[in-house]
Assembly symmetry: C2
């Protein structure tokens, strides 16, 4: 790491720490004022944003970025309005900071409760989509955390332009402009600094491909909220309702392909395979989904390729599905325990007994009954927005919204009480 | 690390992981049966426990352990009964596993809620007190976690004898005896293995001196629930009630000296110093507490020594107190922000306005109004027992009981719902 980057990152870290102290006592009104002003600034700056984004797009085309990446990078009027709308929605969410719960008298006479408090400084490291800059800034601000944002170098100009709007919003509300800092260097050494300095940053949220997240997790010296893979399963139980089963597995696989909550493996109880698999297979075939199946499933699906052991452990993020016939819910849960990435699993069943077992035993961040895995999402869960999805168990699990960016401290109220 | 230890630790890890899968679905009744049977086994094995403990005590005397260490190591009939009573208390606590909260309908028609689940495998690394073996085993078991326990080598024979009672209890309840494993080797390489293998252990709780905890934290590759220091403050505000103030600061300093929730620094508002400090000082002097004071406080206390900057940053764990006169609550909070270890701070005031600010702004795991810092404790807070105290903000903060050893997963209940 060059000395300049280190000095710059120390300055960023100190500014973030100082801003986080001010944010703890920022009023809900101040934070909402800032969010609404940021939204307005984004809309008012649409021309500038598009011009800066065009620089990134030109550079991206020159670098030969593929069409999908360029699409994620691109801004247009609609996407700018979408970012602004996202900020307004976060302004409308309940402020989690200062919430007091479980305040109860103890036999000693003191009252003990918990108060929700910000984590401090949140570092976000993300890839090309520039809207993450606005989203992440807003979620951190609303939850009372200072943010240090490091976007992909391909979106450098777009992110700086968005950062200017964020700063305007903070200024308008009388908040420290360092409450949100978007790094002004694309140097990779900045990332190493962010993830190894617990004195400046309390938690890192990486958003991007598996490679980015693995690298960050293995080098980080601060806690990381992350998910690596989304190998999600749907199990069609002996007692599944057929039409619910077909609808759910079609939706879970084909609603969108490149998302972490898409189903990658379909498990079917042996007693139902002959009835449901041909129907499901014909819909998949129609939609161009490649099927890779175990021998028993292959016998029921003409067009299936044989599945290898690797298939069960693969997140396709593509129109490919692996299909396995299992004896019962026990074999389904064993398969899930072995191959799931702990993201989301769903059972289709009419049996309350089987559903209770599945809910209790399956060790994933979201466990569903008779619902598509595609629902595993902060908006769908009512969190308002999410900063990411956690497949870890420590601190936060599943979609992480405002609450996942906070902690709880104990408060004790007495009247001169002393320990006996 | 020798190959033997590594192979042994891999075996322990695999057994713990397997046991943790069984524990997730262990019923509350099974867990309570095991806890009560462990308690009975401890009482029934008192003679064996005392004989094994005598081996440790002899070895300890030979090694020249000091009197305080030997006292922590010693077992007698009363302490064995105390361990058993601790297990019975944990049996009587509400089972946190499977608790469903916040289950609400969403606009899409699905119900989304959270279910409390075990973390998985908890590793505890502790120093000489053998009762931690029983406590930690019980807290992990009740919260559905498998435990890997590594006690101090001085307590090796005592811990193995306690482990045998724990195993008896598990067997009696039909649970996997590997649900609690007490390492059968005093080799230090085992600790390195525990803290660097996230595939076997989900979280580490170190219990011991600052040196142990610092070493573990800096080398760990798994999350650590810890506190390093307890530099706790009491601030006597302008609007403090005099008798509450005197009672609280005497209790917070002198109730017990060697504990992390004892007050180390007393802060006094300038407007009250002349009135309260001489009274407090005379009680401290009577109790043999050495006072190290800022110049303004020294002017009011004949017997005070001058405090150095180092004093403000020191956890004495001894009959020593540092005393500082501050202008007001703002200077008090600035001092706390600079020197506190984030454990526990208390304000003595009759002002609701000042208390609200102090509660909101002070960034410690426990923040108190008109109460002694000595209350910062799992039993006093109603957690039933604590596995440790966390001064981190991530995951758990303050005394960590059963809930701190769990996580929450999302559950989704539908009726064939798919994403539109």
């Amino acid at each position: 790491m060059t000395m300049d980057i280190q000095a710059y990152m120390n300055q960023v870290g100190q500014q973030a720490r100082a801003a986080s102290r001010q944010l703890v006592v920022a009023t809900t009104e101040q934070k909402n004022t800032a969010l609404l002003a940021m939204a307005q600034a984004l809309v008012d700056s649409t021309d500038t944003l598009l011009a800066e984004n065009a620089k990134d797009m030109d550079a991206g085309r020159e670098k030969g970025l593929d069409a999908a990446l360029l699409d994620r990078l691109a801004l247009d009027k609609g996407r700018v309005e979408g970012m602004a709308e996202g900020l307004r929605q976060i302004a409308s969410l309940t402020d989690p900071v200062g919430e007091i719960t479980d305040l109860r008298y103890r036999p000693s006479g003191i009252q003990v409760g918990k108060m929700r408090v910000p984590l401090g400084v949140v570092g976000i490291i993300y890839e090309s989509r520039p809207n993450v800059t606005a989203d992440a800034a807003a979620l951190c601000l609303k939850s009372g955390n200072a943010a240090v944002l490091r976007g992909g170098s391909e979106a450098f100009y777009s992110n700086q332009a968005i950062a200017a709007c964020v700063r305007q919003g903070l200024e308008k509300a009388g908040l420290d402009v360092n409450a949100v800092q978007v790094l002004e260097t694309p140097d990779r050494a900045a990332v190493s600094s962010m993830i190894t300095q617990p004195e400046y940053i309390d938690v890192i949220v990486p958003r991007g491909g598996k490679g980015l997240i693995e690298r960050i997790s293995s080098e980080a010296r601060v806690p990381v909220i992350k998910h690596l893979d989304g190998i999600c399963h749907v199990y069609i139980d002996d007692e599944a309702d057929e039409s619910k089963a077909v609808n759910i597995v079609v939706n879970a696989k084909t609603h969108r392909y490149g998302v972490c909550n898409a189903m990658e493996t379909l498990l079917v109880a042996e007693s139902r395979a002959e009835q449901v698999l041909p129907k499901i297979a014909s819909i998949y075939a129609e939609k161009g989904v490649e099927m890779r199946a175990c021998p028993k499933a292959s016998a029921l699906i003409d067009t299936a390729l044989p599945a290898t052991d690797e298939d069960w452990a693969t997140e396709y993020l593509a129109p490919i599905v692996s299909i396995k016939v299992v004896a019962d819910v026990n074999e389904a849960m064993d398969h899930i325990a072995q191959f799931s990435s702990g993201h989301t699993e769903s059972i289709v069943t009419e049996s309350i007994t089987t559903s209770r077992r599945f809910l209790a035993q399956v060790d994933s961040s979201s466990v569903m009954v008779n619902a598509s895995t595609r629902f595993a999402d902060g908006f769908e869960y009512g969190l308002g927005a999410e900063i990411g999805i956690s497949t870890d168990k420590f601190h936060a699990r599943g979609p992480v919204g405002l609450e996942g960016l906070t902690s709880q401290k104990y408060i004790v109220l007495g009247d001169g009480h002393i320990r006996q």
